[in-house]
Assembly symmetry: C2
Homo-oligomer: 357 residues x 2
DNA sequence: ATTCACACTGCAATCGTTTGCGGAAACGTA
DNA sequence: TACGTTTCCGCAAACGATTGCAGTGTGAAT
């Protein structure tokens, strides 16, 4: 026989070698049946065993350094103390804080999250979810929700505990936690109007996402509230939350000769594109036009000018989503509810009173 | 008995209800023993079963929509087709691209990665790794390596397939894939020198990280190569890769009256702090002092001035790391090797010739 | 005709837990 | 003393796969 490959533990043949102890080991050591050891070890069933015995088992487990095997446990119980977390794109700075929020509250109660990237690809999403389900995850939080998202709808309807974060579906009772987009654009618009702006344009994000439509709807509402004219010209639909889309929209606006002194961008990336387009036309911000973004991404305070934007509490979004899911796991028949977190305006230097005419 | 809670599948009692089919189901349907079905389903053992039978089993499995239960499989085989990915902080924009790179190559061969955040906390790290091991992950890639990292050393020495990404340990034969820091600072320094700079300072990152010491070492080497004076005054050790640390370092330099026309920052965050400090003193960049960063984080091209920086191919770092680990899993006794990926300078507008004296 | 090799497949154990069921003490009550 | 309750614990069957071993049957070689 060749020498054992390096990097291989001596193997379980050897008698009391460093193999991680199993329940049977601690039972043997404690002089009880594995079943008893199991009951002693689990807080929920501990009352079924004599106090003294339980203590002994606990003691042995501790000195042996016993750790239950989650795989075996999952196989038996079809539970796993973990949930799936479905993210469209981790490299989007929006999502990591959400992940952190979720992980932090989950970790506090012994749960953990399995993160998957879908890259906005429905096929990857279904594959990932299927894979996670076969690993007995107990629920899901989706950050990939689209307005119309049959897959998630079916999943939730099928009884899988599900919560949405950051984005919601159009019409469904799936619990969600999102930022209060309407409130957010309301304060942004008030800010602009207070500054004296009257001709404000909106760079709307993709209309298959709740964030996109909600912000657009709120924009028009604000126009109405402030008695401003709601002209279709003052609106640009962007097909993606991307810098290039923002730039394109603004140059088109400029080319079309629509007059405006301020732009409310659907998110910070769009605002960034706006900066580019403005600079490309020799216009200054905020001198010639004010711009306000949405999200308060990292480093937008470093831009020049530092971007005024609506801050979304992403970490808290995640934390609340985790709470919601946990609650759902504990009491599946409790009535569902969704949460709207308040947004705040962070007033930096990309907004100023309009030039006098 | 109360009505079954909503959101619960009818349960396996019902005869042929939508319960995910097991191996036994397909075996029964195909008229073979589960063992045979297993062999037919696994490419590696398929040759052990009659071709015709195998086809029949495959066929049945397909129509039944059979998916093997990874938990049961893991329990039996102590393998899991997954690896652990240990990240210090997902909200650091450095890491998501690495994660993507890893996931992409892993996914290509049916593996997946379990991501854990350690928040730079050794206790969380050991806990997470322990938890992953008990889930039978087959190996680890660590992005958390410190120069001296006994935990990872022990783990690797114990035979667990391990690779390091982005950061390495001081002295160890654990395979790693990192950027060629030395090469990176060399081109950055050459760039500065070519521009005419002679008095260059370095903002060095934490010296317990390989990136920190390597860049510092390379800086001094470059000084020597270009015949520039290596004065301790021209060096600031920063205790963290943070903007505030960079700002502090530069203001100290300024306060101490050390003269310099360019700064090589250990990373982009430090460079950012540098911008702040310079602006705070009324100095212009690149007019008064040039600065070059490291990493090419997202959006540093949007700063003003856009930051000249050394780009690290993070995605490729991750991809290579995954390849290395995969290779190690397949051939554990192959000799280890580490990979250095070339770095490139992206020349933007934070560097310029020094003012004439 | 006997032996042998080979291809194929079934049996049963196993991975490490959990849990329904039943038995054996121990205890209280009549 | 007899009997019903508890309390505690062990037995054994799961959960869903993989795998060493042993068998069967076929065809070829002697």
């Amino acid at each position: 026989m060749p020498p054992p490959p390096p990097g291989t533990e001596p193997g379980p043949r050897t008698a009391s070698v460093a193999r991680r102890p199993t329940l049977k080991d601690v039972a043997g050591e404690a002089g009880v049946h594995p079943a008893t050891a199991s009951r002693a070890l689990n807080p929920g069933t501990r009352h079924l065993v004599n106090d003294e015995t339980a203590q002994r088992v606990l003691q042995v487990a501790d000195t042996l350094g016993y750790q239950p095997n989650p795989i075996a446990r999952s196989l038996k119980t079809a539970r796993s103390a973990s949930i799936g977390l479905v993210i469209p794109d981790l490299t989007n700075p929006l999502f990591p804080p959400i992940v952190r929020g979720i992980e932090d509250v989950l970790g506090g109660v012994g749960y953990n999250a399995w993160i998957v990237n879908t890259d906005n690809d429905p096929a990857r999403e279904t594959a990932a979810v299927e894979s996670l389900r076969s690993r007995s995850v107990e629920g899901f939080v989706f950050a990939t929700g689209r307005l119309h998202h049959p897959f998630i709808e079916r999943l939730a309807a099928g009884g899988t505990p599900t919560v949405l974060v950051n984005r919601r579906l159009a019409v469904s009772d799936i619990p969600s936690v999102t930022g209060d987009d309407a409130g957010g654009v309301a304060i942004a618009m008030r800010h602009l109007v207070d500054l004296g702006h009257r001709r404000i344009v909106h760079l709307a994000g993709p209309q298959d996402l709740s964030t996109g439509v909600n912000r657009l709807r709120a924009f028009r509402q604000a126009l109405e509230d402030h008695g401003l004219e709601d002209s279709p010209a003052r609106l640009k639909l962007c097909s993606a939350w991307a810098e290039s889309a923002g730039a394109k929209a603004v140059t088109e606006l400029l080319d079309d000769g629509v007059e405006f002194t301020a732009v409310l961008a659907g998110n910070d990336l769009l605002a960034l594109g706006c900066y580019d387009a403005l600079a490309g036309r020799g216009l200054s911000c905020p001198g010639d036009v004010s711009v306000v973004g949405f999200n308060d991404m990292p480093f937008v305070d470093k831009l020049s000018p530092p971007l005024t934007t609506v801050r979304i509490p992403h970490y808290e979004l995640g934390a609340e989503a985790a709470h919601l899911l946990l609650e759902r796991l504990r009491a599946p028949d409790r009535t569902t509810r969704s949460i709207l977190l308040p947004l705040t305006l962070v007033d930096r230097q990309s907004t100023a009173p309009p030039r006098l005419l």
